[in-house]
């Protein structure tokens, strides 16, 4: 996983609650068997009209935000299906972090496992960030994971993240490698505990 320590970049806002993974990456792009190359399909049905032409008023199509690397959205971002293609496509498009008042659980997990930082901030702070991002010149944000801080014009906020997720992100650690260090525990569990609740073999 790509480590995350600090990042400074332009922000772009999609000011809607409950943005689901079907919008983030529509299902017709889930048939690939790779992990990469999904950025071009991010928000496909909002970015492009059905004839393939560009939907001018969608924020990601606004040249002012073409360099944006931080996405700001409404609450419950990433609800819906468990497709990891959602964080893959957001990362592949060039984003490193998403800021929202709340995230759906599975999306939140999937993001952390891929080095995309989901940052939860209070509603009113997110509203302010969204407003600033729409001002001429836009909004530049600096994120420091070690400090757990988000800074920019008129903002200086701390965010919460579990110590474990933070450590893994900072070091770009692979969960599987970590778990395999505990193989003795897994073996012991299989030997002693499974038979207490399992009564048929498959």
């Amino acid at each position: 996983m790509r480590p995350f320590d600090r990042h400074t970049g332009k922000a772009v806002a999609i000011d809607l609650a409950n943005i689901d993974t079907d919008q983030i990456i529509p299902k017709q792009f889930l048939k690939r068997i790779e992990r990469t190359g999904y950025g071009q399909f991010l928000f496909n049905d909002w970015r492009f009209n059905s004839d393939g032409s560009i939907q001018e008023d969608f924020p990601l199509n606004d040249p002012a935000y073409s360099e944006a690397s931080i996405l700001i959205t409404g609450a419950n971002f990433g609800c819906g299906s468990s497709r990891e293609h959602a964080p893959w496509s957001i990362l592949d498009h060039g984003f490193r972090a998403v800021i929202a008042p709340s995230f759906a659980d599975i999306f939140h997990n999937n993001s952390l496992k891929n080095g995309l930082l989901p940052i939860t901030l209070p509603d009113d702070v997110v509203d302010r960030l969204i407003d600033s991002s729409k001002q001429p010149g836009g909004l530049e944000i600096s994120i420091d994971l070690e400090e757990q801080s988000v800074k920019g014009k008129d903002v200086d906020e701390k965010f919460e993240i579990s110590a474990f997720a933070k450590f893994s992100l900072l070091n770009g650690l692979d969960d599987i490698g970590l778990t395999l260090q505990h193989e003795v525990d897994i073996e012991r569990f299989e030997r002693n505990s499974v038979s207490l609740y399992r009564f048929s073999t498959f």
């Binding site: 889930l30 048939k31 419950n76 990891e84 659980d105 474990f164 609740y197 009564f199 048929s200 498959f202």
Partner: protein
């Protein structure tokens, strides 16, 4: 005093250390063609194997056609995905229930049907509707592809414990009001993020009164309320359903299993972090009018004229525009073009019986095209033996092979731009059933009735013909 969730959690703790997520053992891992290829690839890159291939089961459902199965796929990319799964299952020693098998079906229909899902288990799958299996009192939740790889390699998952939410449904569901209406009502009440951070336990007389099929419908849509897992305490209904199924315990093992399963229900007096009460007897059939499962109304109601309190106003107006509906429009005046009866929410034998009882002796409206897609080939066979298939085809419904089909429209079963569909599936998101397609979530009987009437109708007043 512990809840059902606490008990399963504790029984599966492989390791727990302060400041780290707990490591949970996984008893059953179901996989399908769409979210597994990258996980197998990850194993190959790191020269890892499956720790317990015998606890892993594969089927194909998401992208496969539900018609003309003996022909080559029209979609070469979907074909490649299926071929990749076949190769991966061969290489890593996983049992695959392929399209030529009579057990093939939607992953969440297949698992319970084969007796793989058992009370007290932990069940995962790279699909958010894994919550379905919670109907058996199993802790079941959807995972991403990285987690699929993690389970492949270690048969465990690092997890943080969620909070306990009790949804207590008292009273009895009135005639014509189904498990689907109940879960739509629950989501309407708590909102699509109301369950975020919780595991939900559904309890109360109305839940106890449900069949396993109904319980699966309720648990299935738990994720639409934001919770990753929903649970129902195992009881006689659960045991009767499981007994004799292919992978269920047998003989002495069965007796021991039942004895253990009886210890699982939440202890009297165990504390929940939050409780929600619902009165089943006050419910009517529900229809969603928007682009989120929380946007729903009773069949006798109207499309709202303002966003419900506490819900996002932008999303409200955007939803009405996308759905092509007017504020205050009566739900019963909404005309449909398509009807879809299927998906892991409502494609089991009981769902098909319910829809067939409405369809019997009627004809699908000339303006509507309707289809029924059974959840598994086994259900298809049973429905044919019971004469349900004939009722559907006589009424003008298409009768298909098992798969996800128009629930997510990855295959050729897709809505065209602007088409409006009465669907028994679980998500009415923009474009879910096809770009520009408009989805209204309903129960199987409501979908069948709408297909016949050409618009939504109150199935409680239906003229049943026998």
């Amino acid at each position: 005093m512990r809840t059902l969730y606490d008990k399963i959690w504790e029984a599966h703790l492989v390791r727990q250390k302060e400041g780290e997520p707990a490591l949970l053992y996984i008893d059953l891992h179901l996989i399908h063609e769409v979210t597994s290829p990258q996980a197998f690839e990850g194993l190959r890159i790191n020269s890892r194997k499956l720790r317990r291939p015998e606890l892993t089961f594969a089927t194909v459902d998401h992208a496969i056609p539900t018609i003309g199965r003996d022909l080559p796929f029209n979609d070469p990319i979907a074909w490649k995905q299926v071929e990749t799964l076949r190769q991966n299952c061969r290489d890593f020693g996983v049992r695959l229930y392929d399209m030529d098998r009579k057990e093939q079906g939607i992953v969440h229909v297949f698992g319970p049907e084969q007796g793989l899902t058992q009370p007290g288990f932990t069940v995962v799958c790279g699909d958010s509707h894994t919550s379905t299996h919670g109907a058996f009192g199993a802790l079941a939740f959807g995972i991403g592809t990285s987690e699929v790889e993690h389970v492949f390699a270690t048969q465990t998952l690092p997890q943080t414990k969620a909070k306990n939410l009790l949804i207590n449904v008292k009273g009895e569901l009135p005639f014509g009001v189904t498990a689907k209406d109940l879960i739509l009502a629950i989501i309407n009440k708590i909102g699509t993020s109301g369950g975020t951070g919780y595991v939900i336990e559904y309890a109360g007389d109305a839940i106890k009164g449900l069949s396993m099929e109904g319980r699966m419908t309720v648990c299935n849509m738990t994720i639409e309320g934001g919770a990753r897992a929903g649970l129902i305490a195992p009881d006689e209904t659960t045991f009767t359903y499981l007994k004799g199924r292919k992978f269920a315990p047998e003989g002495d093992g069965w007796e021991k299993a039942v004895e253990y399963w009886r210890t699982l229900p939440t202890d009297k007096g165990a504390a929940f972090d939050r409780t929600v009460e619902i009165d089943a007897s006050s419910l009517a059939p529900f229809v969603t009018w928007g682009t989120s499962p929380e946007m729903s109304a009773m069949i006798t109601d109207r499309v709202p004229d303002a966003p419900p309190p506490g819900r996002d106003p932008h999303s409200f107006s955007k939803a009405l525009e996308y759905m092509g509906l007017e504020p205050s429009q009566p739900i019963q005046q909404i005309a449909i073009d398509r009807a879809f009866i299927g998906s892991c929410t409502n494609s089991r034998i009981e769902d098909l019986r319910e829809a067939a009882s409405v369809a019997k002796g009627h004809k699908v409206a000339g303006s509507v095209s309707a289809m029924v897609v059974p959840g598994s080939m086994k259900i298809k066979e049973q429905a044919e033996a019971e004469g349900l298939a004939e009722i559907f085809t006589n009424a003008g419904f298409e009768w298909r092979d098992a798969g996800c089909s128009m629930c997510l429209a990855m295959n050729e079963d897709v809505l065209s731009e602007g088409e409006r569909c009465a669907s028994t599936s679980n998500r009415n998101f923009e474009g879910r059933q096809g770009r520009g397609g408009r989805t209204h979530l309903v129960s199987p009987s409501m979908a069948a009735a709408a297909a016949i009437a050409g618009h939504f109708v109150d199935v409680r007043n239906w003229e049943f013909r026998n």
